[in-house]
Symmetry: C2
Protein backbone atom coordinates (compact mmCIF):
# COMPACT_ATOMS: atom_id res chain seq x y z
CA UNK A 1 0.00 0.00 0.00
CA UNK A 2 1.12 3.57 -0.69
CA UNK A 3 1.56 6.08 2.12
CA UNK A 4 -1.70 7.68 1.00
CA UNK A 5 -3.56 4.40 1.22
CA UNK A 6 -2.21 3.66 4.70
CA UNK A 7 -3.15 7.14 5.89
CA UNK A 8 -6.63 6.90 4.38
CA UNK A 9 -7.16 3.47 5.93
CA UNK A 10 -6.05 4.66 9.37
CA UNK A 11 -8.39 7.62 9.17
CA UNK A 12 -11.31 5.44 8.05
CA UNK A 13 -10.64 3.03 10.93
CA UNK A 14 -10.58 5.85 13.47
CA UNK A 15 -13.79 7.40 12.17
CA UNK A 16 -15.55 4.05 11.85
CA UNK A 17 -14.68 3.15 15.42
CA UNK A 18 -15.85 6.53 16.68
CA UNK A 19 -19.12 6.35 14.73
CA UNK A 20 -19.69 2.79 15.89
CA UNK A 21 -19.34 3.92 19.48
CA UNK A 22 -21.43 7.09 19.09
CA UNK A 23 -24.23 5.10 17.45
CA UNK A 24 -24.37 2.22 19.89
CA UNK A 25 -25.16 3.98 23.11
CA UNK A 26 -28.44 2.87 24.56
CA UNK A 27 -29.13 6.32 25.98
CA UNK A 28 -28.25 9.77 24.76
CA UNK A 29 -30.50 12.04 26.71
CA UNK A 30 -32.13 12.26 30.10
CA UNK A 31 -35.01 12.01 31.01
CA UNK A 32 -36.45 10.26 27.98
CA UNK A 33 -34.56 7.00 28.04
CA UNK A 34 -33.35 4.94 25.14
CA UNK A 35 -33.21 5.86 21.48
CA UNK A 36 -35.68 3.75 19.47
CA UNK A 37 -33.73 0.69 18.32
CA UNK A 38 -35.18 0.76 14.82
CA UNK A 39 -33.94 4.35 14.36
CA UNK A 40 -30.50 3.50 15.71
CA UNK A 41 -30.18 0.58 13.29
CA UNK A 42 -31.19 2.80 10.37
CA UNK A 43 -28.61 5.41 11.37
CA UNK A 44 -25.96 2.69 11.60
CA UNK A 45 -26.99 1.27 8.22
CA UNK A 46 -26.63 4.71 6.65
CA UNK A 47 -23.21 5.49 8.16
CA UNK A 48 -21.31 2.28 8.95
CA UNK A 49 -21.33 1.00 5.40
CA UNK A 50 -17.76 1.19 4.18
CA UNK A 51 -17.61 4.87 3.27
CA UNK A 52 -14.14 6.10 2.37
CA UNK A 53 -14.22 8.93 4.97
CA UNK A 54 -12.49 11.33 2.59
CA UNK A 55 -13.88 14.40 4.33
CA UNK A 56 -12.45 13.48 7.75
CA UNK A 57 -9.20 12.62 5.93
CA UNK A 58 -8.96 16.08 4.36
CA UNK A 59 -9.75 17.59 7.74
CA UNK A 60 -7.05 15.67 9.60
CA UNK A 61 -4.48 16.23 6.86
CA UNK A 62 -5.12 19.96 7.02
CA UNK A 63 -4.98 20.04 10.81
CA UNK A 64 -1.72 18.04 10.67
CA UNK A 65 -0.06 20.92 8.79
CA UNK A 66 -0.44 22.80 12.09
CA UNK A 67 0.78 19.83 14.14
CA UNK A 68 -2.67 18.98 15.51
CA UNK A 69 -2.67 15.29 16.53
CA UNK A 70 -5.24 13.11 14.76
CA UNK A 71 -6.97 12.37 18.04
CA UNK A 72 -8.16 15.97 18.16
CA UNK A 73 -9.93 15.73 14.80
CA UNK A 74 -12.23 12.80 15.54
CA UNK A 75 -15.33 14.71 16.65
CA UNK A 76 -15.16 17.16 13.76
CA UNK A 77 -14.50 14.29 11.35
CA UNK A 78 -17.48 12.37 12.68
CA UNK A 79 -19.68 15.45 12.37
CA UNK A 80 -18.66 15.81 8.72
CA UNK A 81 -19.46 12.16 8.04
CA UNK A 82 -22.81 12.40 9.83
CA UNK A 83 -23.77 15.34 7.62
CA UNK A 84 -22.45 13.62 4.50
CA UNK A 85 -24.32 10.39 5.29
CA UNK A 86 -27.55 12.20 6.19
CA UNK A 87 -27.40 13.92 2.79
CA UNK A 88 -26.93 10.58 1.02
CA UNK A 89 -29.85 9.01 2.91
CA UNK A 90 -32.16 11.89 1.97
CA UNK A 91 -30.85 12.17 -1.61
CA UNK A 92 -31.54 8.47 -2.18
CA UNK A 93 -35.23 8.84 -1.24
CA UNK A 94 -37.86 8.12 -3.92
CA UNK A 95 -38.88 11.79 -3.98
CA UNK A 96 -35.28 12.79 -4.72
CA UNK A 97 -32.81 10.64 -6.70
CA UNK A 98 -34.74 7.40 -6.03
CA UNK A 99 -31.78 5.08 -5.56
CA UNK A 100 -31.99 1.50 -4.29
CA UNK A 101 -28.28 0.86 -3.99
CA UNK A 102 -25.54 2.66 -2.08
CA UNK A 103 -22.03 1.34 -1.50
CA UNK A 104 -23.20 -2.08 -2.66
CA UNK A 105 -26.01 -2.30 -0.11
CA UNK A 106 -29.67 -1.43 -0.02
CA UNK A 107 -30.29 2.25 0.68
CA UNK A 108 -31.82 3.09 4.06
CA UNK A 109 -35.39 3.52 2.78
CA UNK A 110 -35.16 0.15 0.97
CA UNK A 111 -33.72 -1.68 3.98
CA UNK A 112 -36.16 0.03 6.38
CA UNK A 113 -38.82 2.40 5.02
CA UNK A 114 -39.13 5.99 3.87
CA UNK A 115 -40.27 7.45 7.18
CA UNK A 116 -37.37 5.81 8.98
CA UNK A 117 -34.92 7.07 6.34
CA UNK A 118 -36.17 10.64 6.68
CA UNK A 119 -35.91 10.51 10.47
CA UNK A 120 -32.52 8.78 10.46
CA UNK A 121 -31.19 11.56 8.22
CA UNK A 122 -32.77 14.25 10.37
CA UNK A 123 -31.18 12.81 13.44
CA UNK A 124 -27.70 12.42 11.96
CA UNK A 125 -27.79 16.11 11.05
CA UNK A 126 -28.93 17.03 14.56
CA UNK A 127 -26.33 14.77 16.17
CA UNK A 128 -23.53 16.35 14.14
CA UNK A 129 -24.19 19.69 15.84
CA UNK A 130 -24.67 18.08 19.23
CA UNK A 131 -21.24 16.45 19.17
CA UNK A 132 -19.54 19.58 17.79
CA UNK A 133 -20.89 21.51 20.78
CA UNK A 134 -19.30 19.07 23.23
CA UNK A 135 -15.93 19.94 24.83
CA UNK A 136 -14.42 16.49 24.22
CA UNK A 137 -11.89 17.41 21.51
CA UNK A 138 -11.68 21.17 22.00
CA UNK A 139 -11.79 23.12 25.23
CA UNK A 140 -11.82 26.48 23.45
CA UNK A 141 -15.44 27.54 23.15
CA UNK A 142 -14.84 29.99 20.30
CA UNK A 143 -13.24 27.25 18.23
CA UNK A 144 -16.23 24.94 18.65
CA UNK A 145 -18.60 27.71 17.58
CA UNK A 146 -16.50 28.36 14.48
CA UNK A 147 -16.70 24.67 13.56
CA UNK A 148 -20.47 24.66 14.03
CA UNK A 149 -20.85 27.79 11.96
CA UNK A 150 -18.63 26.47 9.17
CA UNK A 151 -20.45 23.13 9.01
CA UNK A 152 -23.91 24.72 9.10
CA UNK A 153 -23.12 27.21 6.34
CA UNK A 154 -21.61 24.59 4.06
CA UNK A 155 -24.49 22.15 4.62
CA UNK A 156 -27.20 24.77 4.17
CA UNK A 157 -29.23 26.51 1.49
CA UNK A 158 -26.26 28.17 -0.20
CA UNK A 159 -24.18 25.01 0.09
CA UNK A 160 -25.09 21.34 0.02
CA UNK A 161 -28.87 21.51 0.41
CA UNK A 162 -29.17 24.39 -2.04
CA UNK A 163 -27.03 22.49 -4.53
CA UNK A 164 -29.24 19.41 -4.29
CA UNK A 165 -32.29 21.63 -4.87
CA UNK A 166 -30.73 23.15 -8.00
CA UNK A 167 -29.55 19.73 -9.18
CA UNK A 168 -33.09 18.31 -8.95
CA UNK A 169 -34.49 21.36 -10.71
CA UNK A 170 -31.92 20.97 -13.51
CA UNK A 171 -33.23 17.59 -14.69
CA UNK A 172 -33.96 17.85 -18.41
CA UNK A 173 -32.87 21.50 -18.45
CA UNK A 174 -30.06 22.79 -20.63
CA UNK A 175 -27.52 24.55 -18.42
CA UNK A 176 -24.37 26.49 -19.19
CA UNK A 177 -21.03 25.10 -18.02
CA UNK A 178 -20.91 27.88 -15.44
CA UNK A 179 -24.31 26.92 -14.04
CA UNK A 180 -23.30 23.25 -13.86
CA UNK A 181 -20.08 24.23 -12.10
CA UNK A 182 -21.99 26.27 -9.55
CA UNK A 183 -24.42 23.46 -8.75
CA UNK A 184 -21.51 21.10 -8.17
CA UNK A 185 -19.64 23.64 -6.10
CA UNK A 186 -22.68 23.88 -3.83
CA UNK A 187 -23.83 20.26 -3.76
CA UNK A 188 -20.49 18.52 -3.30
CA UNK A 189 -17.84 21.23 -3.14
CA UNK A 190 -19.19 23.13 -0.14
CA UNK A 191 -18.76 20.24 2.32
CA UNK A 192 -15.32 19.31 0.97
CA UNK A 193 -14.26 22.95 1.25
CA UNK A 194 -15.62 22.94 4.80
CA UNK A 195 -13.64 19.79 5.64
CA UNK A 196 -10.41 21.59 4.77
CA UNK A 197 -11.47 24.84 6.46
CA UNK A 198 -12.50 23.02 9.65
CA UNK A 199 -9.02 21.47 9.73
CA UNK A 200 -7.56 24.96 9.33
CA UNK A 201 -9.81 26.30 12.10
CA UNK A 202 -8.69 23.53 14.48
CA UNK A 203 -5.09 24.32 13.48
CA UNK A 204 -5.58 28.02 14.27
CA UNK A 205 -4.48 28.93 10.75
CA UNK A 206 -3.65 32.57 9.98
CA UNK A 207 -5.87 34.49 7.55
CA UNK A 208 -3.33 34.00 4.77
CA UNK A 209 -3.12 30.28 5.44
CA UNK A 210 -6.90 29.97 5.58
CA UNK A 211 -7.26 31.69 2.20
CA UNK A 212 -4.75 29.31 0.60
CA UNK A 213 -6.41 26.25 2.14
CA UNK A 214 -9.87 27.46 1.15
CA UNK A 215 -8.67 27.73 -2.45
CA UNK A 216 -7.30 24.20 -2.22
CA UNK A 217 -10.59 23.01 -0.72
CA UNK A 218 -12.65 24.54 -3.52
CA UNK A 219 -10.46 23.00 -6.20
CA UNK A 220 -10.40 19.63 -4.42
CA UNK A 221 -14.20 19.73 -4.35
CA UNK A 222 -14.35 20.40 -8.08
CA UNK A 223 -11.87 17.61 -8.76
CA UNK A 224 -13.84 15.19 -6.61
CA UNK A 225 -17.13 15.95 -8.35
CA UNK A 226 -15.65 15.77 -11.83
CA UNK A 227 -14.01 12.42 -11.02
CA UNK A 228 -17.41 11.23 -9.77
CA UNK A 229 -19.15 12.27 -12.97
CA UNK A 230 -16.50 10.58 -15.12
CA UNK A 231 -16.91 7.38 -13.09
CA UNK A 232 -20.70 7.60 -13.43
CA UNK A 233 -20.15 7.49 -17.18
CA UNK A 234 -17.34 4.92 -17.39
CA UNK A 235 -17.46 2.55 -14.40
CA UNK A 236 -19.79 -0.38 -13.80
CA UNK A 237 -22.41 -0.63 -11.03
CA UNK A 238 -20.28 -3.28 -9.38
CA UNK A 239 -17.19 -1.07 -9.20
CA UNK A 240 -19.08 1.79 -7.60
CA UNK A 241 -21.57 -0.15 -5.51
CA UNK A 242 -24.29 2.17 -6.77
CA UNK A 243 -26.37 2.63 -9.88
CA UNK A 244 -24.22 4.18 -12.63
CA UNK A 245 -25.25 6.04 -15.77
CA UNK A 246 -28.05 7.60 -13.74
CA UNK A 247 -27.10 11.18 -14.50
CA UNK A 248 -27.48 10.65 -18.21
CA UNK A 249 -30.69 8.68 -17.81
CA UNK A 250 -32.33 11.31 -15.62
CA UNK A 251 -31.14 14.12 -17.90
CA UNK A 252 -29.04 15.61 -15.13
CA UNK A 253 -26.58 18.34 -15.86
CA UNK A 254 -22.96 17.18 -15.73
CA UNK A 255 -19.79 18.57 -17.21
CA UNK A 256 -19.02 15.16 -18.74
CA UNK A 257 -22.29 15.20 -20.69
CA UNK A 258 -21.30 18.60 -22.07
CA UNK A 259 -17.65 18.15 -23.01
CA UNK A 260 -17.23 14.36 -23.15
CA UNK A 261 -15.16 11.90 -21.12
CA UNK A 262 -11.80 12.57 -22.78
CA UNK A 263 -11.85 16.32 -22.36
CA UNK A 264 -13.22 15.92 -18.83
CA UNK A 265 -10.19 13.83 -17.88
CA UNK A 266 -7.85 16.54 -19.17
CA UNK A 267 -9.82 19.13 -17.22
CA UNK A 268 -9.65 16.98 -14.08
CA UNK A 269 -5.84 16.81 -14.21
CA UNK A 270 -5.70 20.59 -14.69
CA UNK A 271 -7.83 21.19 -11.59
CA UNK A 272 -5.70 18.77 -9.55
CA UNK A 273 -2.54 20.67 -10.51
CA UNK A 274 -4.18 23.97 -9.54
CA UNK A 275 -5.22 22.49 -6.18
CA UNK A 276 -1.68 21.37 -5.44
CA UNK A 277 -0.28 24.73 -6.51
CA UNK A 278 -2.57 26.43 -3.96
CA UNK A 279 -0.60 24.65 -1.22
CA UNK A 280 2.83 26.12 -2.07
CA UNK A 281 2.79 28.15 1.16
CA UNK A 282 3.06 24.99 3.24
CA UNK A 283 5.93 23.16 1.49
CA UNK A 284 6.33 19.50 2.35
CA UNK A 285 3.90 19.76 5.27
CA UNK A 286 1.05 19.66 2.77
CA UNK A 287 2.20 16.51 0.93
CA UNK A 288 -0.67 14.50 2.37
CA UNK A 289 -3.21 16.96 1.01
CA UNK A 290 -1.45 16.77 -2.37
CA UNK A 291 -1.70 12.97 -2.33
CA UNK A 292 -5.42 13.19 -1.55
CA UNK A 293 -6.24 15.33 -4.53
CA UNK A 294 -4.01 13.14 -6.73
CA UNK A 295 -6.11 10.21 -5.59
CA UNK A 296 -9.23 11.92 -6.93
CA UNK A 297 -7.65 11.70 -10.38
CA UNK A 298 -6.92 7.98 -10.07
CA UNK A 299 -9.78 6.47 -8.13
CA UNK A 300 -11.79 3.68 -9.67
CA UNK A 301 -14.68 3.58 -7.20
Amino acid sequence: MSNFQIEAQNCANDINNALDEALSKEQFFEPYGAIPKHLLLAMRHGTLNGGKRLRPLLLRQTAAIFNVPHEQTIIAGMALEMVHCYSLIHDDLPAMDNDDLRRGQKTVHKEFDEATAILAGDNLLTLAFEILASPKDHKETELRLKLISELAKSAGACGMVGGQMLDLASENETLSLKEIDNIHAMKTGALIRASVRMGAIIGLASDRELIALTKYGELAGRAFQLADDILDETATDRQLGKTTGKDKKSGKATLVANIGVKESKVKLLEIIEQAKAALSLFGEKANSLRASVDYFGQRES
Copy 2:
Protein backbone atom coordinates in the same frame (compact mmCIF):
# COMPACT_ATOMS: atom_id res chain seq x y z
CA MET B 1 -57.37 41.21 25.11
CA SER B 2 -55.93 39.71 28.28
CA ASN B 3 -52.36 40.39 29.36
CA PHE B 4 -51.48 36.91 28.18
CA GLN B 5 -52.94 37.52 24.75
CA ILE B 6 -51.08 40.82 24.38
CA GLU B 7 -47.80 39.22 25.45
CA ALA B 8 -48.31 36.27 23.10
CA GLN B 9 -49.16 38.59 20.24
CA ASN B 10 -46.08 40.75 20.86
CA CYS B 11 -43.87 37.69 20.92
CA ALA B 12 -45.40 36.30 17.72
CA ASN B 13 -44.88 39.66 15.99
CA ASP B 14 -41.23 39.81 17.05
CA ILE B 15 -40.52 36.26 15.92
CA ASN B 16 -42.45 36.66 12.66
CA ASN B 17 -40.51 39.80 11.82
CA ALA B 18 -37.20 38.14 12.63
CA LEU B 19 -38.06 35.02 10.59
CA ASP B 20 -39.27 37.17 7.72
CA GLU B 21 -35.94 38.97 7.66
CA ALA B 22 -33.81 35.84 8.11
CA LEU B 23 -35.64 34.12 5.27
CA SER B 24 -35.55 36.95 2.77
CA LYS B 25 -31.85 37.47 2.36
CA GLU B 26 -30.73 36.85 -1.18
CA GLN B 27 -27.37 35.57 0.00
CA PHE B 28 -26.33 33.65 3.06
CA PHE B 29 -22.96 32.28 2.22
CA GLU B 30 -19.89 33.19 0.21
CA PRO B 31 -18.73 32.09 -2.34
CA TYR B 32 -21.77 30.26 -3.67
CA GLY B 33 -24.14 33.13 -4.21
CA ALA B 34 -27.89 33.17 -3.79
CA ILE B 35 -30.10 30.59 -2.13
CA PRO B 36 -32.36 28.91 -4.70
CA LYS B 37 -35.57 30.96 -4.77
CA HIS B 38 -37.81 27.92 -4.88
CA LEU B 39 -36.22 26.61 -1.66
CA LEU B 40 -36.50 29.98 0.05
CA LEU B 41 -40.21 30.20 -0.81
CA ALA B 42 -40.80 26.70 0.56
CA MET B 43 -39.02 27.58 3.80
CA ARG B 44 -41.12 30.73 4.10
CA HIS B 45 -44.31 28.76 3.38
CA GLY B 46 -43.44 26.33 6.15
CA THR B 47 -42.58 28.96 8.75
CA LEU B 48 -44.43 32.23 8.06
CA ASN B 49 -47.88 30.73 8.23
CA GLY B 50 -49.48 32.11 11.36
CA GLY B 51 -47.94 29.83 13.94
CA LYS B 52 -48.62 30.81 17.53
CA ARG B 53 -44.91 30.88 18.46
CA LEU B 54 -45.59 29.32 21.85
CA ARG B 55 -42.04 27.96 22.18
CA PRO B 56 -40.38 31.36 21.79
CA LEU B 57 -43.02 32.70 24.19
CA LEU B 58 -42.11 30.18 26.89
CA LEU B 59 -38.45 30.97 26.28
CA ARG B 60 -38.86 34.72 26.64
CA GLN B 61 -41.17 34.39 29.66
CA THR B 62 -38.58 32.20 31.37
CA ALA B 63 -35.71 34.55 30.51
CA ALA B 64 -37.79 37.48 31.78
CA ILE B 65 -37.79 35.93 35.28
CA PHE B 66 -34.07 36.74 35.24
CA ASN B 67 -34.65 40.23 33.82
CA VAL B 68 -33.36 39.32 30.34
CA PRO B 69 -34.86 41.80 27.85
CA HIS B 70 -36.99 40.25 25.09
CA GLU B 71 -34.60 41.50 22.42
CA GLN B 72 -32.00 39.04 23.67
CA THR B 73 -34.27 36.04 23.13
CA ILE B 74 -35.00 36.52 19.43
CA ILE B 75 -32.28 34.31 17.93
CA ALA B 76 -32.97 31.44 20.33
CA GLY B 77 -36.73 31.85 19.76
CA MET B 78 -36.24 31.77 16.00
CA ALA B 79 -34.06 28.67 16.28
CA LEU B 80 -36.82 26.91 18.26
CA GLU B 81 -39.41 27.84 15.64
CA MET B 82 -37.14 26.73 12.79
CA VAL B 83 -36.78 23.33 14.44
CA HIS B 84 -40.49 23.14 15.24
CA CYS B 85 -41.46 24.07 11.67
CA TYR B 86 -38.94 21.70 10.09
CA SER B 87 -40.46 18.89 12.15
CA LEU B 88 -43.97 19.80 10.97
CA ILE B 89 -42.86 19.90 7.32
CA HIS B 90 -41.27 16.45 7.57
CA ASP B 91 -44.08 14.98 9.70
CA ASP B 92 -46.64 16.07 7.10
CA LEU B 93 -44.87 14.16 4.29
CA PRO B 94 -46.74 11.27 2.62
CA ALA B 95 -44.27 8.74 4.08
CA MET B 96 -45.04 10.04 7.59
CA ASP B 97 -48.41 11.48 8.68
CA ASN B 98 -49.47 12.31 5.09
CA ASP B 99 -51.22 15.61 5.80
CA ASP B 100 -52.43 18.05 3.15
CA LEU B 101 -53.44 20.85 5.47
CA ARG B 102 -51.50 22.80 8.08
CA ARG B 103 -52.68 25.99 9.77
CA GLY B 104 -55.41 26.29 7.16
CA GLN B 105 -52.99 26.19 4.22
CA LYS B 106 -51.57 23.52 1.97
CA THR B 107 -48.62 21.69 3.53
CA VAL B 108 -45.22 22.36 1.96
CA HIS B 109 -45.12 19.18 -0.09
CA LYS B 110 -48.60 19.90 -1.47
CA GLU B 111 -47.81 23.53 -2.31
CA PHE B 112 -44.39 22.62 -3.75
CA ASP B 113 -43.34 18.95 -3.97
CA GLU B 114 -41.91 16.25 -1.73
CA ALA B 115 -38.25 16.80 -2.60
CA THR B 116 -38.58 20.51 -1.90
CA ALA B 117 -40.33 19.82 1.41
CA ILE B 118 -37.59 17.44 2.54
CA LEU B 119 -34.87 19.94 1.63
CA ALA B 120 -36.73 22.91 3.13
CA GLY B 121 -36.99 21.00 6.41
CA ASP B 122 -33.35 19.94 6.27
CA ASN B 123 -32.29 23.50 5.76
CA LEU B 124 -34.43 24.97 8.53
CA LEU B 125 -32.81 22.52 10.94
CA THR B 126 -29.35 23.46 9.69
CA LEU B 127 -30.12 27.17 9.83
CA ALA B 128 -31.31 26.89 13.45
CA PHE B 129 -27.82 25.83 14.50
CA GLU B 130 -26.15 28.38 12.25
CA ILE B 131 -27.98 31.29 13.87
CA LEU B 132 -27.46 29.95 17.40
CA ALA B 133 -23.70 29.94 16.75
CA SER B 134 -23.74 33.64 15.81
CA PRO B 135 -22.77 36.24 18.42
CA LYS B 136 -25.71 38.54 17.66
CA ASP B 137 -27.74 38.04 20.85
CA HIS B 138 -25.10 36.55 23.13
CA LYS B 139 -21.44 37.44 23.33
CA GLU B 140 -20.68 34.65 25.83
CA THR B 141 -19.43 31.70 23.82
CA GLU B 142 -20.18 29.11 26.52
CA LEU B 143 -23.80 30.24 26.63
CA ARG B 144 -24.24 29.82 22.88
CA LEU B 145 -22.79 26.30 23.07
CA LYS B 146 -25.19 25.42 25.87
CA LEU B 147 -28.12 26.59 23.76
CA ILE B 148 -26.93 24.54 20.78
CA SER B 149 -26.46 21.48 22.94
CA GLU B 150 -29.88 21.85 24.55
CA LEU B 151 -31.66 22.29 21.24
CA ALA B 152 -29.81 19.40 19.57
CA LYS B 153 -30.52 16.98 22.40
CA SER B 154 -34.20 17.86 22.58
CA ALA B 155 -34.65 17.63 18.80
CA GLY B 156 -32.73 14.36 18.46
CA ALA B 157 -33.22 10.63 18.71
CA CYS B 158 -34.12 10.62 22.41
CA GLY B 159 -36.34 13.65 21.97
CA MET B 160 -38.48 14.91 19.10
CA VAL B 161 -37.21 12.70 16.26
CA GLY B 162 -37.19 9.59 18.44
CA GLY B 163 -40.74 10.38 19.56
CA GLN B 164 -41.95 10.71 15.99
CA MET B 165 -40.32 7.35 15.19
CA LEU B 166 -42.09 5.67 18.13
CA ASP B 167 -45.36 7.42 17.28
CA LEU B 168 -45.29 6.07 13.70
CA ALA B 169 -44.39 2.61 14.97
CA SER B 170 -47.32 2.72 17.41
CA GLU B 171 -50.00 2.88 14.73
CA ASN B 172 -52.46 0.07 15.35
CA GLU B 173 -50.47 -1.12 18.36
CA THR B 174 -51.94 -1.33 21.85
CA LEU B 175 -49.78 0.69 24.20
CA SER B 176 -49.86 1.20 27.94
CA LEU B 177 -50.60 4.69 29.30
CA LYS B 178 -46.98 4.91 30.36
CA GLU B 179 -45.75 4.13 26.86
CA ILE B 180 -48.10 6.72 25.37
CA ASP B 181 -46.91 9.26 27.89
CA ASN B 182 -43.29 8.58 27.01
CA ILE B 183 -43.89 8.98 23.26
CA HIS B 184 -45.58 12.32 23.88
CA ALA B 185 -42.86 13.45 26.24
CA MET B 186 -40.32 12.81 23.49
CA LYS B 187 -42.25 13.95 20.43
CA THR B 188 -43.74 17.18 21.76
CA GLY B 189 -42.55 17.55 25.33
CA ALA B 190 -38.81 17.58 24.66
CA LEU B 191 -38.85 20.77 22.58
CA ILE B 192 -41.23 22.56 24.96
CA ARG B 193 -39.00 21.56 27.88
CA ALA B 194 -36.02 22.85 25.89
CA SER B 195 -37.80 26.18 25.26
CA VAL B 196 -38.06 26.75 29.00
CA ARG B 197 -34.55 25.48 29.69
CA MET B 198 -33.04 27.67 26.97
CA GLY B 199 -34.72 30.67 28.62
CA ALA B 200 -33.20 29.58 31.92
CA ILE B 201 -29.77 29.17 30.30
CA ILE B 202 -29.96 32.68 28.83
CA GLY B 203 -31.04 33.93 32.27
CA LEU B 204 -28.04 32.23 33.93
CA ALA B 205 -30.37 30.34 36.28
CA SER B 206 -28.87 28.55 39.28
CA ASP B 207 -29.01 24.75 39.42
CA ARG B 208 -31.96 24.91 41.79
CA GLU B 209 -33.83 27.32 39.52
CA LEU B 210 -33.05 25.20 36.46
CA ILE B 211 -34.44 22.08 38.15
CA ALA B 212 -37.69 23.86 39.02
CA LEU B 213 -38.06 25.31 35.53
CA THR B 214 -37.26 21.95 33.93
CA LYS B 215 -40.08 20.41 35.94
CA TYR B 216 -42.41 23.18 34.80
CA GLY B 217 -41.25 22.62 31.20
CA GLU B 218 -41.95 18.90 31.33
CA LEU B 219 -45.43 19.43 32.77
CA ALA B 220 -46.18 22.22 30.31
CA GLY B 221 -45.21 19.86 27.49
CA ARG B 222 -47.55 17.19 28.80
CA ALA B 223 -50.37 19.72 29.16
CA PHE B 224 -49.81 21.00 25.64
CA GLN B 225 -49.88 17.52 24.10
CA LEU B 226 -52.95 16.45 26.04
CA ALA B 227 -54.80 19.63 25.03
CA ASP B 228 -53.81 18.88 21.44
CA ASP B 229 -55.18 15.35 21.61
CA ILE B 230 -58.44 16.56 23.17
CA LEU B 231 -58.81 19.12 20.39
CA ASP B 232 -58.05 16.47 17.76
CA GLU B 233 -61.07 14.60 19.13
CA THR B 234 -63.45 17.51 19.73
CA ALA B 235 -62.65 20.43 17.40
CA THR B 236 -63.48 20.82 13.72
CA ASP B 237 -60.97 20.97 10.87
CA ARG B 238 -61.83 24.62 10.41
CA GLN B 239 -61.05 25.54 14.01
CA LEU B 240 -57.64 23.91 13.91
CA GLY B 241 -56.73 24.57 10.28
CA LYS B 242 -55.61 20.99 9.99
CA THR B 243 -57.17 17.57 9.54
CA THR B 244 -58.77 16.48 12.83
CA GLY B 245 -59.73 13.03 14.05
CA LYS B 246 -56.63 11.71 12.33
CA ASP B 247 -55.19 10.07 15.39
CA LYS B 248 -58.23 7.85 15.79
CA LYS B 249 -58.40 7.09 12.09
CA SER B 250 -54.76 6.06 11.85
CA GLY B 251 -55.01 4.02 15.03
CA LYS B 252 -52.48 6.22 16.77
CA ALA B 253 -51.92 5.94 20.48
CA THR B 254 -53.35 8.87 22.46
CA LEU B 255 -54.33 9.23 26.08
CA VAL B 256 -57.77 10.50 25.02
CA ALA B 257 -58.46 7.28 23.13
CA ASN B 258 -57.62 5.36 26.27
CA ILE B 259 -59.43 7.29 29.00
CA GLY B 260 -61.99 9.37 27.05
CA VAL B 261 -62.43 13.13 26.60
CA LYS B 262 -64.04 13.86 29.96
CA GLU B 263 -61.39 12.21 32.07
CA SER B 264 -58.67 13.67 29.86
CA LYS B 265 -59.93 17.17 30.62
CA VAL B 266 -59.76 16.49 34.36
CA LYS B 267 -56.25 15.12 33.90
CA LEU B 268 -55.26 18.21 31.90
CA LEU B 269 -56.34 20.57 34.68
CA GLU B 270 -54.37 18.49 37.19
CA ILE B 271 -51.20 18.73 35.12
CA ILE B 272 -51.65 22.48 34.72
CA GLU B 273 -51.90 22.91 38.49
CA GLN B 274 -48.76 20.81 38.98
CA ALA B 275 -46.91 22.93 36.40
CA LYS B 276 -47.87 26.15 38.19
CA ALA B 277 -46.90 24.68 41.54
CA ALA B 278 -43.41 23.94 40.18
CA LEU B 279 -42.90 27.70 39.81
CA SER B 280 -43.39 28.59 43.50
CA LEU B 281 -39.71 29.48 43.85
CA PHE B 282 -40.17 32.49 41.57
CA GLY B 283 -43.25 34.13 43.10
CA GLU B 284 -44.96 36.75 40.96
CA LYS B 285 -42.06 36.88 38.51
CA ALA B 286 -43.37 33.63 36.99
CA ASN B 287 -46.94 34.83 36.45
CA SER B 288 -46.46 34.92 32.68
CA LEU B 289 -45.39 31.29 32.65
CA ARG B 290 -48.44 30.44 34.76
CA ALA B 291 -50.70 32.22 32.27
CA SER B 292 -49.14 30.28 29.39
CA VAL B 293 -49.87 26.90 30.88
CA ASP B 294 -53.38 28.07 31.82
CA TYR B 295 -53.86 28.93 28.17
CA PHE B 296 -53.10 25.32 27.21
CA GLY B 297 -56.20 24.35 29.19
CA GLN B 298 -58.41 26.86 27.42
CA ARG B 299 -57.25 27.01 23.84
CA GLU B 300 -59.67 26.24 21.05
CA SER B 301 -57.22 25.97 18.18
